[in-house]
């Protein structure tokens, strides 16, 4: 039983998972319908009249019109997704739902990364401190005792 759950079987399992994930992640997803392209584009744009809903979500008539326009441009096949989004954005300024990473807008991408670094960085710092301090806080008397003990002790890790 111990052997079954040993390092070897675990590393085989990790390899297997990695292979399966790589296979799944790279295999082709098959053709998407035009409708799915339309959906993908309309999810990136805000409906101009409906309080922050996307074109995809909204059933308002303005959203309906814009969806029709997207459908027409997708059907004509002349423009890429980004170009269609840019066209709609040029007509309805402020309808882009994904803020571009420029200027002040980039804060929305920077701050989460900062939070992530601070959060886990803080965790690391806290664990380091805990590791150093242990359960009980050492005061100067304790430090003295330790120092005295250390003087009489050949540290095997010295020089590492």
């Amino acid at each position: 039983m111990k052997k079954l759950k040993g390092r070897f079987v675990w590393s085989m399992m990790a390899v297997l998972a990695a292979v399966l994930l790589a296979f799944g992640a790279t295999r082709s997803s098959g053709p998407t319908t035009q409708e799915e392209r339309i959906d993908a584009i309309s999810k990136r744009l805000a409906c101009p009249t409906c309080n922050g809903e996307s074109i995809y979500v909204s059933r308002a008539s303005a959203a309906e019109s814009i969806r029709n326009e997207i459908a027409r441009q997708v059907a004509s096949g002349q423009r890429a997704d980004d170009e269609i989004v840019a066209y709609i954005e040029s007509r309805f300024p402020g309808s882009l739902l994904l803020p571009p990473g420029e200027g002040v807008d980039s804060l929305i991408w920077v701050l989460p990364v900062v939070a992530l670094v601070c959060g886990f960085g803080g965790l690391v710092v806290v664990f380091r401190k805990w590791k150093r301090e242990g359960d009980v806080e050492a005061d100067s008397d304790d430090a003295g005792i330790v120092a005295a003990a250390l003087r009489n002790y050949d540290d095997p890790t010295e020089g590492l």
């Binding site: 101009p48 008539s61 309906e64 029709n68 710092v125």
Partner: protein
Amino acid sequence: MNGVSRLSRRLVPIVGVVLVAFFVVLAVSKPRGEADVSSPLIGNPAPVVQSTLIDGGDFDLSRRKGSWVVLNFFNSTCVPCRNEHPELVKFAEEQTAVADGAELFTIVNDDSDEAVNAFFAEKGGSWGKVRDPDGTIAVAFGVAKVPETWVIDPSGFVRMRVAGEVTASLLSSRIGAMRDMLNGVGS
């Protein structure tokens, strides 16, 4: 004083500043009002508009070059559209009296021919009514909410956008001023 506490001591001023800034942002934020009425189209060539008229025949904006064109985006059930209609009737009359008067067209937004005809029969107005069956024209101009009124100059450039209700005097005076300016430049 352990390390964790020292760490949080240092964090306190930062947290305080962030919170105060956040509070200020919330306090100065205003309820959202009407969308911006400026448009990147202003001063640029008008989008292509090709469609059909409810009373029969085709409509092609590019063939209207040479005269001022006013496009009114409209829906017979929208309340402000109904409110502004007498003003449009007045404006159309004023323009027929002027030499080189502006042409007015209604762009029908999300409405049936019958409803539009019934509305015009009741409220008056004999100008062209352009179909926009799936909102192409509205999207091309960036019209999200009717009514909106757009003015296009004789060379086919967009000159003005009015979101919401419009008045005959506003349209006439602004078009008059712009016409004088263009003529002044031309002479």
